[in-house]
């Protein structure tokens, strides 16, 4: 096909095309200039814009470490919970909504009034309840689904500290505040370990807020898990027996510490009254105090063990040495020391076994100030035991120059010196452990790393130990501690009954205590029992000794330490 009848292209058309072409060229040039402006000169600005909308930086809250007992049973754990808040946009709507909400969750009347006030004041952000229980959360789901309320109430996820064993070992574990900061016990002492370290993370998200890339700016360190030396089961029956005795004796309080004789690790440490760590904020400060390490008292007769050890170690007395006990009344300067049961003469052994104050005073005077003072110091009195728990008291041991002429006599039977239960059990454990002053250990391992913070100082000779140990065994077998006796097993112990000072005077209110260890020949367990102000009975041998026994019985079964049994209970197969 040839094309006929068409016009040739003339110059003007080509010129005009060139004009249009030039126009397009300029257009392209403008585009290129714009591109240079956007991509070269404003590159940083727009990169920042893009970053602002797709990069998000989140703070990461570390999860608080879990606290376990020695067998890995949980004592404290953090779980994610939801906290409910209200965005107060419309007061009337908020009020109506809150009326519905308060039916679904438990709130104190005071809190309710508080929230009402806040809504009326027009605050924007109002906590309704933090850390809802699972049940409350489920009950709220219907309201949350309501379209009108969807944007009014919402949740923030928070960790909540849960103590599944409630009051068990509450003084050791301690508790936390609303923001999970440790307030007492291990939670406080090891807070920096348990809490971990928060981190920062930068995420890349698309427009639908879905993350597709993640970069740690600051890697979070999760809180460390703490394994205590406490054995939940032991702690449980210790607490149970303690509370039973405190209740029957109508006492003010009481403390029991159970220790592994060899290693100084604490198996149980209970102080009555207990508290529920989840309600720590509503608990009296005095209750939260761990009395096992902070209860200051005059030890009374239990201190005679230290006296005896000092006398024997310094070779000042021998067990059969006889002392004149002045028939129960011994005047020294302007003071008088009494014995509960008057004795004319007692051997060194018997002074301990029958707990003669006069005898003790005589022994003390025989030892002399300096040597006795040194012994007391060696046994760790007047200094903190160093156990990893907060709030430990160091007691009071006056320096020698402050001792009066009668001080030695009083210190001999446990007055003029103020001790704590943990100091007492540590000093008793010197005898049980074969002469070592051991720092009590409460932490077994942290995040799988064994606790190596151990201190052990040999302060006594083996021969002395055996002699004291046999005297203490006799205390239980024939002396003041008879109520501790368990058939088939030798228990070494010492009773104590001390008057308490109230208003600068010793009154007829008592602290009854009993410390000891068993089996006497090969000690496995050292235990110390203190009952504060028992009202029905008051002698250590009547109040503390039976408690010691009932706990010891259970411990023996639990730890598979079997007593020598009667013939009839032996089965041969």
């Amino acid at each position: 096909m040839t094309i006929k009848g068409t016009l040739k292209i003339n110059k003007s058309e080509r010129n005009r095309t060139f004009i249009v072409f030039t126009f397009f060229g300029i257009w392209m040039l403008i585009i290129v200039v714009f591109l240079i402006k956007l991509q070269v000169f404003n590159y940083e600005k727009y990169t920042a814009r893009i970053k602002a909308q797709s990069n998000r930086i989140f703070k990461l809250h570390p999860k608080r470490g879990t606290i376990y007992d020695v067998h890995g049973e949980i004592l404290a754990i953090s779980v994610k919970t939801k906290s409910l808040f209200l965005s107060n946009k419309n007061k009337d709507q908020s009020l109506a909504l809150f009326k519905q909400l308060k039916k679904k969750i438990s709130l104190t009347y005071k809190k309710q009034r508080d929230i009402f006030k806040r809504i009326k004041k027009g605050r924007n952000f109002i906590w309704i309840k933090r850390k809802l229980s699972e049940r409350e959360f489920l009950r709220l789901s219907k309201i949350k689904k309501n379209k009108d309320y969807k944007s009014v109430i919402d949740y923030i996820e928070e960790y909540k500290r849960v103590y599944p064993q409630r009051q068990l070992a509450s003084h050791i574990v301690g508790g936390v505040g609303i923001d999970e900061q440790g307030l007492s016990g291990i939670e406080y002492e090891l807070n920096s370990d348990i809490i971990g370290k928060g981190g920062k993370v930068e995420v890349l998200t698309d427009a639908k807020h879905r993350v597709f890339d993640l970069k740690y700016i600051d890697k979070p360190i999760p809180g460390k898990d703490i394994y205590l030396t406490i054995d939940n089961s032991v702690q449980y029956f210790v607490e149970k027996e303690l509370s039973r005795v405190v209740k029957t004796q109508n006492a003010k309080g009481g403390t029991v510490i159970v220790m592994n004789s060899e290693t100084g690790t604490i198996l149980a440490m209970a102080s009555y009254p207990f508290f529920n760590p989840e309600r720590i904020s509503k608990t009296n400060k005095n209750v939260i105090k761990n009395k096992a390490i902070s209860f200051r008292y005059d030890p009374g007769s239990t201190f005679k063990v230290i006296l005896a050890a000092s006398a024997l170690e310094n070779d000042i007395c021998y067990p059969q040495q006889v002392f004149n006990c002045y028939n129960g009344v011994y005047k020294i300067r302007d003071r008088t020391i009494y014995d509960v049961h008057p004795y004319a003469k007692l051997s060194f052994e018997d002074i301990i076994i029958y707990s003669s104050n006069i005898g003790a005073a005589l022994i003390g005077q025989k030892i002399g100030k300096r040597k006795y003072y040194n012994s007391i110091k060696e046994f760790g009195f007047g200094a903190k035991s160093g156990i990893k728990l907060p709030g430990e008291e160091k007691g009071t041991l006056h320096p020698l120059k402050k001792w009066s002429s009668v001080s030695i006599a009083y210190l001999s039977h446990g007055y003029e010196v103020i001790v704590t239960p943990i100091q007492m059990i540590r000093s008793f454990n010197v005898i049980a452990s074969g002469g070592y002053l051991i720092k009590p250990v409460i932490i077994d391992r942290i995040s799988g790393i064994q606790n190596i913070d151990k201190e052990k100082v040999k302060i006594m000779d083996r021969s002395t130990l055996q002699r004291i140990s046999s005297i203490m065994t006799d205390v239980v077998n024939i002396g003041t501690g008879k109520k501790t006796k368990i058939a088939g097993i030798d228990i070494a112990g010492k009773t104590g009954t001390a008057k308490k000072v109230k208003g600068k005077k010793y009154r007829k209110i008592y602290v009854s205590s009993f410390g000891g260890f068993f089996p006497a020949k090969n000690p496995k367990i050292t235990m110390f029992v203190v009952i504060d102000e028992p009202k029905n009975q008051f002698y250590g041998g009547d109040v503390a000794a039976p408690l010691f026994k009932s706990i010891a019985e259970k411990l023996l079964i639990y730890l598979r330490i079997f007593p020598e049994l009667d013939e009839k209970n032996e089965v041969r197969i």
Partner: protein, 106 residues
């Protein structure tokens, strides 16, 4: 310009182009394949990023669930509760001393 000369000129030019054209197309295709692979690697990177983050968040949720279950388990093992069940429901009693027997193997 005479037509024959023009013809010759054109055909010469075209010969050059003919030898050049297909090679060029192959190059283009090759470049395309390389770039396609490169971009698909980058895209997969993003895609796996999504998946990974999804899995990570799932892990997180599951770990939280594990912690919750641990707490529930611990609550069930609360010794008060266990003791109550043992003594009240099952009516177990603590053994009396005379109930202990010692077994000797001979």
């Amino acid at each position: 310009m005479n037509i024959r000369e023009w013809d010759k000129k054109i055909s010469k030019k075209e010969k050059n182009r003919k030898s050049f054209g297909p090679v060029f197309v192959v190059y283009i295709l090759l470049a395309f394949i390389i770039l396609f692979t490169y971009s698909s690697l980058n895209l997969k990177n993003i895609d796996y990023g999504y998946k990974m983050q999804e899995l990570i968040s799932k892990t997180k949720v599951l770990n939280e669930e594990i912690d919750k279950l641990k707490a529930v388990r611990a609550n069930l093992l609360n010794l008060d509760r266990v003791e109550k069940i043992v003594t009240q429901k099952l009516r177990y009693q603590h053994p009396k001393p005379e109930q202990f027997i010692k077994v000797f193997e001979e």
